[in-house]
């Protein structure tokens, strides 16, 4: 399958606000506009990758991602994942994936107690086989912005050890010349993104769809997403 034949779907919840940005990013890479599906949909046309975008689904009421995680469309997402399908959650999407239990842990309020929007430097981890990391050499560093109030990844020590031992830590924040602490939110083990035990589901706090051209955010997001798409297509 070529990248342009990839069927990408983006789930849209009330309060999602990075759905359009992700749609534009995917169209830039694949030449094909992804389908946006409303959260109330239960039967989806066949697809290869479903993305849970960033934003404030259901206004972050109750808990970030809690209500979206119980939306009708998530049944289809979980079925897809159970069949070994690929799922990507960015920012609020990562929060949704932890709420459903598809990924372990939880995203707590930032350690600094404030919303933070700025560039971060992240490093590709030594993971199990995963389409989300396989196209980038271990240790590759990327500059990708974050924008969140709850990005402080937390899990039990057992879970954290398991993530490390299994090679599920996809991205960690690393030192760079960007102003401020390397880890913008206090996340355990500097975790910026993790994958599921089979490598097919990834959640990450940084927003690759905001780094798609040199003049807007730099091109590292495009690099990351295009390698994911290539790996999924092959």
């Amino acid at each position: 399958m070529s990248m342009s034949a990839m069927r990408v779907v983006i789930a849209v919840f009330p309060g999602s606000n990075c759905d359009r940005d992700m749609m534009v990013a995917m169209e830039q890479l694949t030449g094909r506009r992804p389908q946006l599906v409303w959260h109330k949909e239960t039967t989806l046309d066949p697809f290869d990758l479903i993305i849970i975008p960033g934003g404030f689904s259901f206004g972050d009421y109750l808990r970030c991602g809690a209500l979206a995680g119980r939306s009708p469309v998530m049944d289809a997402v979980m079925d897809h994942a159970a069949r070994g399908g690929a799922v990507l959650g960015v920012c609020n999407g990562f929060q949704v994936l932890t709420e459903t239990g598809m990924l372990p842990g939880v995203l707590l309020r930032n350690a600094g107690l404030n919303y933070v929007c700025r560039d971060t430097r992240i490093k590709v981890g030594d993971t199990i086989a995963s389409p989300f990391t396989s196209g980038l050499a271990v240790g590759t560093e990327l500059t990708i912005p974050v924008a969140h109030n709850e990005g402080n990844y937390f899990a039990s020590d057992d879970d954290l050890n398991r993530l490390e031992d299994n090679g599920q830590i996809a991205f960690t924040y690393v030192e760079s010349d960007i102003h401020g602490p390397a880890n913008p939110n206090g996340a355990a083990k500097d975790i910026a993104g993790i994958v599921s035990p089979n490598g097919r589901v990834m959640g990450m706090m940084p927003h690759p769809e905001r780094a798609m051209t040199p003049s807007i955010g730099g091109g590292d997001g495009a690099l990351l997403l295009s390698t994911c798409l290539e790996a999924l297509a092959s």
Binding site: N17, C18, G55, F58, D60, G217
Partner: protein
């Protein structure tokens, strides 16, 4: 007592802020005394906030026309053409009083309100800016207010998903008891798909959509039209509560509905809620309106007609639909889980009739509410002109770098990073330059075009000389837009002043509008929308006057836009513009009302720098043409702190250094820190052709230095400071203030 039907007296009117004359006029127009609901409607419509009664006479003098103006003042927001059939829709609005009482909600609802003004016009909001003024950095309330306002702005803007790309923040003791929170929104629409508010067609349905009406914010517009006192805390219930999630749903639902060709007219329920929206729609259409208040979706039980009409609950809209479009519209609002309720109809009676509990709660003619709203030509005191302070009369205090160590550590010049990192500046993925540059710059989605935007005002200049200060705010905004390479297009203004019933305050207001108007005319930037916030006083003491300018500009090919940071070594740095000369012919710079005078010499007297509009125009036009030609790598407006501070800002966060060539003058401090206007710093690989082009155009230019890789700012042979040291000072101020 039935509050809705019992007749009122002047005492009731006075408690709502109406004067004896205004009360008499109401009873004359009605031919009887009003009931509570009717009186509430009059007092809201005739409040300073809704009627502009003190400022209207002066606002009328501002230039509002231009070839690209599609909609000037009077609608929810101004609209200007930006090319290719697209239009920018924008406005600024204050939420000063609520933000002081309840900083998070006050600021959040300020953002929500200005966004509704923009999407009401049919535009998708694409950017937010703000202009904030707080009390002294060390004042006991500043930390709490700054923290609350910043999280409130972020809380709304981040959630609804519109990037905050620019703004300004200042600190001054005059704002200790009355902060300023002005929010600006910019949207994009097709030029031929602009929606307006005038009601049309008697018999057409009037629809209420959005959130339910509660008892929050009742009579907020009236609160915003009175001074504060020690009892301000008791006004907390008049502050509205924002819900950005509902705001997002309402925005999406309205834009979806507007695309369906169902809407005849639409108006946001902002200040004075259902009152101002129904009255303004009917009045602009020359029609009447009948509303059954029992149908209004209410959050609380037993709400009276008065409460329903004066509530300022957020995230609500009123619209007139095509008669056959109700079903289509209802389906859209159902999808977004929002209330959709036909509550009345347009009539041809010219009256506002409100039904409640089977009776008539209000029956008043609409014309007097708008047309007879009082308009005052309030007396002005003479503004004494301040003496010009000679630079030689302000003591020089040592090496430039020592002064920089102090100045970059003041709250006026310190890094705003702690603030702007709490705003999502990148959502929508079109932000080319967010906060921290001269102007915010976004790509017009799906095109090569760029939209530049900025907010500016220098209150200390306005206080010293209102007319010059009013012009300077426009000139500085013009320079900021120009510095990125964009052509300034139009203005929105937010006039923040004290009590206009005091002649010296009225003089500040009137004279600054005169200066603003002259500048807007000369710089071809008509004023297409705006807001007035008066009575910014606490216990009789007024704020430093703050007529904020929000300006937008356009650049046809956004790839040609530049930033304000040095990007390479071995570049020339050119000073563009004229610096004052002393009696001996030596350069001396204008130190009166400068930050140097304020922080280093501890002087707050003297005249501010004069504004030469012809120079602003020719310098701006010349620089912009050079940027578009690709001759310039970086440009920066020289403003607060003068030349030396502008140099620091251009090298900040880089590994580059600058060798500055020192002039022959006895007034080095004036040269380094004077705040002469109409000046820029320009960085480019080869200054020779730039300089000869400037000379041919009659624009004063002078090469003043070169860039290198030293990471050090060097003024002459032995006065140097590292960027690292300056950055440390610059970045620490606000975090220290916030005890981080």
């Amino acid at each position: 007592m039935n509050m809705d039907t019992d007749m009122m007296t002047f005492e009731h009117a006075a408690s709502m802020g109406l004067s004896e004359d205004e009360w008499q006029l109401i009873t004359k127009r009605l031919g009887r005394v009003p009931n509570l609901c009717e009186l509430g409607i009059f007092s809201a419509m005739w409040s300073e906030h809704c009627s502009y009664k003190s400022s209207k006479r002066w606002l009328k003098t501002l230039p509002v026309d231009g070839a690209h103006v599609i909609e000037g003042p009077g609608e929810n927001a101004g609209v200007v053409a930006i090319g290719d059939g697209l239009a920018a829709v924008f406005k600024i609005e204050s939420h000063n009083h609520p933000s002081f009482i309840e900083p998070y909600q006050g600021a959040a609802t300020g953002v929500g309100g200005i966004l509704r003004d923009v999407f009401t016009m049919g535009a998708r909001p694409v950017a937010l800016l703000n202009a904030l003024r707080f009390g002294a950095a060390d004042h006991e309330k500043t930390r709490h207010l700054l923290s609350g306002v910043v999280s409130g702005i972020g809380g709304y803007g981040n959630c609804i998903g519109i990037p905050t790309v620019g703004g300004e923040v200042n600190f001054d003791p005059s704002y200790n008891g009355n902060i300023l929170v002005n929010a600006m929104a910019v949207g994009l629409a097709n030029s031929d798909r602009i929606f307006r508010s005038a009601a049309t067609g008697a018999g057409n349905p009037v629809i209420y959509v959005g959130a339910k009406t509660g008892r929050d914010g009742i009579h907020g517009a009236t609160m915003a039209s009175t001074e504060f006192s020690d009892e301000t805390e008791s006004k907390r219930p008049t502050v509205q509560v924002g819900d950005p999630f509902t705001g997002k749903l309402l925005m999406e639902a309205c834009l979806e509905l507007m695309a369906s060709d169902s809407v005849l007219s639409i108006q946001d329920m902002g200040a004075a809620g259902l009152t101002s929206s129904s009255v303004e729609m009917a009045s602009k259409g020359g029609l009447g309106m009948e509303i059954d208040l029992d149908l209004v979706p209410a959050r609380e039980e037993q709400m009276s007609a008065y409460e329903l009409m004066l509530s300022e609950s957020q995230e609500r809209m009123l619209m007139v639909l095509k008669p056959d479009a109700t079903d289509v519209a209802r389906a859209i609002f159902d999808k977004w889980d929002l209330d959709f309720m036909p509550i009345g109809q347009v009539t041809d009676t010219g009256r506002l009739i409100l039904l409640k509990d089977g009776g008539t709660a209000c029956d008043i003619p609409i014309a007097p509410l708008v047309d007879d709203a009082p308009e005052y030509d309030r007396p002005q005191a003479d503004v004494p002109s301040r003496p010009v302070i000679k630079t030689a009369d302000i003591a020089e205090t040592g090496p430039i770098c020592d002064v920089l160590r102090k100045l970059m550590g003041t709250s006026d010049l310190a890094s705003r990073r702690w603030i702007y990192e709490q705003y999502d500046s990148q959502v929508m993925a079109d932000t080319i330059a967010g906060p921290g540059g001269d102007a915010g710059l976004i790509r017009v989605h799906g095109t090569d075009r760029g939209l530049a935007m900025t907010t500016d005002c220098t209150p200390r200049y306005v206080e010293a000389d209102p007319k010059t200060g009013g012009a300077q705010a426009v000139a500085e905004a013009y320079r900021n837009i120009t510095s990125v390479g964009a052509t300034p297009l139009a203005i929105t203004n937010n006039l923040n002043f004290g009590n206009p019933e005091k002649p010296e305050i009225m003089a500040q207001l009137a004279q600054s509008v005169v200066g603003m108007g002259e500048a807007a005319k000369r710089l071809d930037t008509p004023v297409v929308s705006g807001n007035v916030s008066l009575y910014n006083e606490t216990d009789g003491v007024a704020i430093q006057p703050c007529p904020v300018i929000g300006m937008i500009g356009v650049i046809d090919d956004v790839a040609l836009a530049i930033g304000n940071r040095i990007t390479a070594a071995d570049q020339d740095i050119v000073l563009l513009g004229h610096t004052n000369i002393d009696a001996n012919g030596d350069v001396d710079g204008w130190l009166g009302m400068s930050l140097y005078a304020r922080h280093i010499a501890n002087r707050k007297d003297g005249a501010p720098p004069p504004v030469d509009l012809d120079a602003e125009r020719s310098h701006g036009d010349f620089l912009r043409a050079q940027i578009i030609k690709g001759a310039v790598n970086a440009a920066h407006d020289i403003s607060d702190g003068g030349l030396a501070v502008a140099l620091v800002e251009m090298a900040m966060k880089s590994t580059f250094g600058i060798d500055v060539e020192m002039p022959e003058t006895t007034n080095i401090h004036g040269w380094a820190f004077g705040e002469d206007q109409a000046r820029y710093l320009v960085v480019l690989p080869d200054s020779a052709s730039f300089i000869s082009a400037a000379e041919a155009a009659g624009v004063p230019v002078q090469k003043i230095g070169t860039t290198n890789t030293s990471g050090e700012l060097k003024f002459g042979a032995d006065d140097a400071i590292s960027q690292e040291e300056l950055e440390k000072i610059f970045e620490a101020v606000i975090p220290d203030l916030m005890h981080i």
